[in-house]
């Protein structure tokens, strides 16, 4: 074994993965070669230092474990299979359905091209027409009027006026997505605008790949045309965020909304 081979095999030697014959050759070389011996000692020393530094850190998993146990308990009591058979298909484009959404969830978190759940496709097109293209619509922009709209829609609590990301509620109206009425809220930070669609939840399972988690809620992601959609459920509500910005931006905004409602 020469010094180059030693360098190449060092990671396997250090991890104890060299099989016995190679390990013996490796050690024989070490005995006779001061440079290689110093090198391996240095690497071991470095590893020890790194290990000590990181293992000394406090790692508190109590919050993560608690949240995971909560999600699992909820998931275990509400098995996936029966839901697939239930009449909850109105949220998804037939024949893809919830079963396929779950398969996609398992398979790689990408919705098949051309298959966008109706509620998201409608939300994307609504955002495009009413917010991006600014087609004339009758908006409500005073806080009392928005509150009245939310109450009319049966939205519990109050809708967030400001979000941590610097966005303010600008205007609202009622719109229809997949034949259902939603409260359409538009938030702006002066340069960008996001649409937030809210509706009371009726046991529906939101379609779309799971792209993240915010406050223990699964964030679903989808895209339609040039719009990106991020959605989540609370025990009372369905929230759908639409933007013509990136999918990451949609997710960040949804997280901010999730923290606020």
């Amino acid at each position: 074994m020469n010094c180059n081979e030693m360098t190449e095999l060092a990671p396997l030697y250090i991890s104890g993965e060299l099989e016995s014959q190679s390990a013996a050759q490796f050690e024989a070389h070490l005995k006779g070669c001061g440079a290689c011996r110093a090198e391996i000692e240095a690497q071991n020393g470095l590893d020890a230092r790194l290990r000590e530094a990181l293992l000394a850190e406090e790692v508190d998993v109590s919050r993560v474990n608690r949240r995971v146990r909560g999600m699992i308990a909820a998931d275990a009591t509400e098995p996936i299979a029966p839901q697939v058979q239930r009449k909850s298909r109105r949220w998804v484009t037939a024949p893809l359905g919830i079963a396929a959404a779950l398969v996609l969830l398992a398979a790689g978190y990408v919705l098949l091209p051309g298959r966008v759940a109706r509620v998201y496709a409608d939300a994307a097109s609504d955002h495009r027409v009413e917010v991006v293209d600014q087609q004339p619509r009758r908006w409500v922009s005073d806080s009392a009027g928005i509150k009245a709209l939310a109450e009319k829609q049966g939205i519990p609590g109050s809708v967030p006026v400001t979000l941590a990301s610097g966005y303010r509620l600008e205007r609202a109206k009622i719109c229809w997505l997949d034949r259902r009425s939603f409260l359409h809220l538009v938030y702006s930070n002066g340069t960008g605008e996001f649409s937030l669609y809210l509706r009371t939840r009726e046991g529906n399972l939101l379609p779309g790949a799971v792209r993240g988690i915010a406050n223990g809620r699964l964030l679903h992601a989808s895209s339609a045309g040039s719009e990106n959609v991020s959605s989540f459920e609370t025990p009372q509500l369905i929230a759908v965020v639409v933007t013509d910005q990136t999918a990451d931006a949609a997710q960040r905004f949804a997280k901010a909304v999730s923290a606020a409602i």
Binding site: T7, E8, A10, P11, L12, S15, G16, E17, I40, E41, A42, Q43, N44, G45, L46, D47, A48, R49, L50, R51, E52, A53, L54, L55, A56, E57, E58, V59, V61, R63, V64, N65, R67, V68, R69, M71, I72, A73, D75, A76, L105, A106, G108, Y109, V210, R211, G212, I213, A214, G216, L218, A247, D248, Q251
Partner: protein
């Protein structure tokens, strides 16, 4: 609690600490790291049927973690999360429980944070979490040769950074490395 939950609790949950330790070094902040681990474990739970008992659960969980991380296009943090070592109950003397001074530990973690994501990842898995090169190849879906060369280069890069940023930490180590070797 169902039998499946019991099994998951026994097999997967104990790995949350290692997952979080690594997640904190690749995610941009503590909240994102916790979200990532939470997502990893929930995905694992949803796919727990596909996990074959007796196979390497840790490699499987870390694979889910990295898939989740990269699938979301999350950027690897440029700087490491600053984690306080000064937990309550520690002595006032700035000394970590391993005997490494806090300043030295910080030098090491800072140097680690400056490495490329590839180098940082293999170093974390190999050195801190105790993965073999084969396990890393499986976890990261990389050829073993790539893992080995990343590990060598990562060690080299970390050494160079420590040598220039904190020669004292590095000097102290040369002796410790030798001592450790003799014990074996």
């Amino acid at each position: 609690m169902t039998a499946r939950q019991d099994e998951f609790e026994r097999v997967a949950i104990p790995h949350s600490k290692g997952l979080l330790r690594v997640a904190r070094r690749i995610a941009s902040d503590t909240a994102s790291a916790e979200d990532l681990v939470q997502e990893t474990l929930f995905r694992a739970w949803r796919n727990f049927d596909q996990f074959q008992s007796g196979t390497n659960v840790r490699a499987w969980l870390f694979r889910i973690l990295f898939n989740a991380f990269y699938a979301q296009g999350r950027r690897v943090s440029a700087a490491p999360i600053v984690v306080s070592l000064d937990a309550p109950g520690r002595s006032a003397e700035p000394q970590s429980r391993s005997g490494l001074s806090l300043a030295d530990a910080a030098e090491v973690t800072n140097a680690l944070g400056e490495l490329s994501a590839e180098h940082r990842t293999v170093l974390l898995l190999a050195v801190v979490e105790g993965f073999t090169c084969r396990e890393m190849a499986e976890t990261l879906s990389l050829p073993i040769g790539t893992v080995m060369s990343r590990l060598s280069r990562g060690r080299q890069a970390l050494r160079e950074r420590l040598a220039s940023a904190a020669p004292r930490v590095w000097e102290a180590r040369a002796g410790a490395g030798r001592a450790e070797k003799e014990v074996r």
